[in-house]
Every structure is written in C-alpha cells, then in structure tokens.
C-alpha cells in the first residue's frame, strides 16, 4: 500500500494514502494479535499474519503474470492458500527457529519500507517546499450584470472533434455536432484543447488562463501533477459564479481532481472510495474471490465504478436541473473515456466482450451512448422559453488516446490533431457571441463571463501545447502551427 503511494507520487497526496494505510496497519495489528492468541505466541501470529497480508495485498500484483502461465482465478487462489497453510504449519511447528524467522521477516519488511520511504520523503519534502501556485486573478463583473441564467458545463472526457474521431477511429457519421448546431449551439469546426491531458486542460479552462504560471512556479523539470490539479480544486470560474449568487453543483467521477472541488456547494459523486483506494481494492485478493464465488462484490471493481459512476452522473444531472435557484453545474463525465463498459444502448458490456472487440467499435459504442444521453439532457435543459434557458457548454477536455488505453506520444501533426482535437459546443442564449472556428477551450468562460457578466476578459490566443515527456510536464511546447499545418 505504501508502495502504491510511492509509485504514484506525481498524482497522489499524503492525505489520499493516509486513511487506507492507517486502516491496513490497524487491521494487520489486530490480525497479528488474534493469531498470536490462537497460536499462543505473538511471533507465530506475526509470521502467519505476514503471509495473509502479503497474500491479500500482493495477489493483484502477480495475478497478471500467473494468468499468463494459464492459471485462472481458482488456481491462483489455491496457490496462495497453500502458501498461507504451509506458513501456518511451519509457524506452528517452529520453535528454535522462531526468533530468526521473525528477524528475517522484520528485515524483509524494513527493507521494503525503507525503499518506499527513500522515494516518498525527498519527493514530499520538495513538494512541501514549493511555493504555492499562483491562482488566476479574480474576475470583476460589470455592476449591472445579472444574466439570471443557469450555467451548465458538461465535460465528456476524450470526446474528440469530428476531425479527431475520423483520423483516429474513421468515424464519419457522428451526428451530434450537427444536432447541436440545429438547436442553436455554436460548434467551432476546428476546436482544440489547450493541453493533451485532463488536469491541464480543465485547469486552463476553469481558470481562463494558459498554464505558464506552472512553468514559472513549479519549474520545467517536474512530474508533479498535483500543482495543476490544485488549480481545478479552487478554480476561478466557480469562485466568480459563487460571488454572483450562483449555487455550485459539482458532479464528479472516480477521477480525483474533479471529484472533490473544495469550493462547490454540493459535490455529487458515486461511492466513497477515491481513485487510489479503488485501484488498491482491485489489487487485493477480494475481486478474485468474488469472481470464483460468482457473487456480486459489495466492493465494486474499477469497471463497476466506471459504469455505475457514469450512470449516477447522468441521473444527478437530470435531478439537479430541476433544483430551484440560480445554479452552476459542472459535470465531468468519463465518456467516451475507457474502460469500455457500455454497449451503444447503454446496457452493460462485460470485460470479456470488451477484450475481444476492436477499439474503434468500442469507442463508437461509448460515443453512441454518450450522444443519446447528451440529447436527452439538452432536450430537458432547452425545453423552456428562450428567455429562461440556461447557458450550456458541452466540451471534451481532449481528444481520444492514440493507442488503446495508452497515450503513445508522438511528435507528429497527426498525433497532435487527434489528441488535442476536442468537442466544443456552446449554447449562448440571448447574446450574439463570435466563436472562431479555431476556438480553444481556455476561452470558453472568457466568452461566457464577458458576454453575460460584462467582465473585461478579452480572448486569449488560441494556442495548444504539448510537453516532451512525463518528467517535464510543465515544459510546454507550442504546437499550434504544427496542428494547423497538418490539416492543410
């Protein structure tokens, strides 16, 4: 568990790992005490407890390797069961060798903790010493501004532009762009995200600024994404709208940065486990036990959470739309983002079915389900007279990944057009806003706040950025010209 934290320092904060680590330590101590009583020797109890703890948390780490050798869940469980039983027998029979066995296991554990600590401590010390990231400057509204319209910001993760979907999956018949245009949405023909990752893209959009402050404050030689993610948790759009009397509803997903937005008045998320805990649970022995028993686990797997969390978000969106009062609703919905868990009609897709299908088909099915939901929700939101209709923004934070479940980064115009080509659709009732065809997401709320609140927010240059590798994530390189040139 400490290891999982140390392997994900760029994404996980100490606060995320503290509760699961504490729970695991308490459970292991209780198990050791119990087994010590049963075996009438705390050292014997500790040895058996060690085997059980290693089995419980280590199962998922070697499961893939054992599966590759042809061992199914039942065989793997049997193998680990043998390990625990043999340990129990040896511990019960050991007498003279007990001290050295205990010493050996202690050294084993200490070495693992020291290796993890040697990774964690320097990283956390550097992070703690870092200067706070400068947040966006507060926006001021014109004194007579009072649009009186609800605002919906619906982010469909990895929903690409028409160009990106055609290049990546050869999808040419997606009717959503035209359907939205027919209902009065602005749908720029060559829209792009500013960054090819969710945290950066949302941080820029929700703070209405490019992320040069991160390059300056964190430095180019960093892999620490939490700085960008902090900008999502306290974003300027939410702060501004709250100051204007809006009630802020956050509809999140398992994705941490948009899951818990501190400034939201209501955070609506499915389940209680964080992304860290969800992966941790999936790595334990419990999912395999549930599969062998053929029972539905009380602890949902990551695929379960992806599916149920998405359906939950759609339900909440429809529910919140009926809530009285002026509201800002930001829903981050992980569609068509993988894992692929839906068929086109929204019915469940099993893991076996997903593994056996080509990704273009899987993505197209997720797209079809997302479209059906978007059309329902837009129909509900725009049902009233024009004067009372809300502002509705539907965007992808980025385009689809270049490879299946992996962003195989390339520095080519084709790659950049796919990864950065995103869906942008803006319903802006009552104003005549000019949305350029080469629109980028950083200007989304600059348009809204300028047109509806009189804020002095001129459009920023529509530029898109990449970075060389994940150890230099703030070393931004402007690739706008490369993108535009590759489309000619």
């Amino acid at each position: 568990m400490l290891f999982l934290y140390s392997a994900n320092l760029a994404l996980v904060l100490p606060v995320d790992a503290a509760a699961p680590v504490a729970r695991a330590v308490i459970a292991a101590a209780a198990l050791t005490a119990f087994l010590g009583l049963v075996l009438r020797d705390i050292r014997r109890g500790a040895i058996v407890a060690s085997a059980i703890v290693i089995t419980y948390f280590g199962f998922g780490h070697v499961s893939g390797f054992l599966s590759g050798l042809g061992l199914g869940d039942a065989a793997q469980l049997g193998l680990w069961g043998v390990v625990v039983v043999v340990t129990l027998i040896l511990a019960a029979r050991a007498s003279a060798r007990l001290p050295q066995a205990t010493a050996g296991l202690n050294v084993f554990a200490i070495v693992l903790v020291v290796i993890a600590a040697a990774t964690i401590l320097p990283y956390e010390i550097t992070r703690a010493r870092r200067e706070p990231v400068a947040h966006a400057a507060p926006v001021t509204a014109a004194t007579d501004a009072a649009p009186g319209r609800d605002i919906y910001f619906l982010v469909f993760d990895r929903y690409g532009s028409a160009d990106a979907l055609e290049r990546r999956f050869d999808i040419t018949d997606n009717d959503l762009y035209g359907w939205l245009e027919e209902r009065g949405f602005h749908v720029p023909s060559s829209s792009h995200a500013n960054y090819r990752a969710t945290d950066f893209s949302l941080a820029a959009t929700l703070n209405m600024q490019l992320l040069d402050n991160l390059t300056r404050d964190v430095g180019r030689d960093s892999d620490d994404r939490t700085a960008a993610q902090d900008m999502i948790r306290e974003h300027e759009v939410g702060r501004f709208l709250k100051s204007q009397g809006y009630r802020y509803y956050q509809i999140g997903s398992w994705y941490g940065p948009s899951r818990s937005i501190e400034i939201a008045d209501e955070s609506l998320v499915y389940g209680v486990a964080s992304e860290f805990e969800s992966v941790l649970n999936d790595l334990t022995i419990m999912p395999a036990i549930d599969r062998v028993r053929g029972v539905v686990s009380p602890e949902p797997t990551f695929r379960d959470r992806h599916r149920e969390g998405t359906l939950f978000a759609f339900r909440q969106l429809r529910r919140v739309a009926t809530a009285p009062g002026l509201k800002f609703v930001f829903a981050h919905i992980l569609l068509p983002h993988d894992p692929y868990v839906f068929k086109a009609d929204g019915s469940p897709l099993s893991e076996e079915e997903a593994n056996g299908a080509p990704e273009p088909q899987l993505y197209a099915d997720h797209l079809a389900f997302a479209n059906s939901q978007i059309k329902q929700i837009v129909g509900q939101l725009l049902a009233g007279p024009e004067q009372t209709r809300p502002i509705v923004i539907i965007e992808g934070d980025e385009g689809p990944l270049m490879c299946r479940s992996v962003d195989c980064v390339r520095n080519t115009g084709e790659y950049l057009r796919i990864r950065l080509g995103n869906l942008v659709a803006m319903y802006l009732p009552g104003v005549d806003a000019l949305i350029p065809d080469t629109f980028t997401s950083v200007n989304t709320f600059r348009v809204v706040l300028r047109e509806y609140f009189g804020a002095e927010l001129e459009p920023l240059p529509d530029r898109s950025f990449t970075w060389p590798d994940n150890d230099h994530i703030y070393d931004f390189r402007d690739v706008t010209d490369q993108i535009l040139a590759s489309g000619e």
């Binding site: 290891f3 392997a7 998922g60 070697v62 060798r97 010493a103 050996g104 070495v111 992304e275």
Partner: protein
C-alpha cells in the same frame, strides 16, 4: 486480472523487484542458523582434507 485504466499505476513490476531485493537481504537472516551450520560443516571438511603433495613436499 482486470486491466487498470485509472490514472493510478499499480507498479507491479517495481514492487516485485523491490520485494526481490528485500528477500535477498532477508534470506541470510531467515536461514542464519542453517547457513552457519553449513559453514561449520564446510570448515570441518576442509580441516579433515589431507595436505596436497606440493604442500607436503615443502615441509620436508
């Protein structure tokens, strides 16, 4: 095992390497008495071995 498609990396390969390092360090302690016994047996067998012909020649 389910493919992990969250942003959190299970890092299984690194864990196995770290566990192997820890095991290499811990095994000599775990089998301390057996190793000591084997070393003693090895030493005794060396002491019982007769001197080689060259050594015997130099003692003359």
């Amino acid at each position: 095992m389910s493919p992990f498609l969250a942003y959190i990396d299970p890092g299984s390969g690194s864990l196995i390497i770290q566990a192997a390092i820890a095991a290499v360090i811990a095994i000599p302690i775990f089998f301390r008495s057996q190793i000591a016994r084997a070393m003693r047996a090895l030493r005794r067998s060396e002491e019982r071995e007769p001197p080689s012909g060259d050594d015997a020649a130099t003692k003359h």
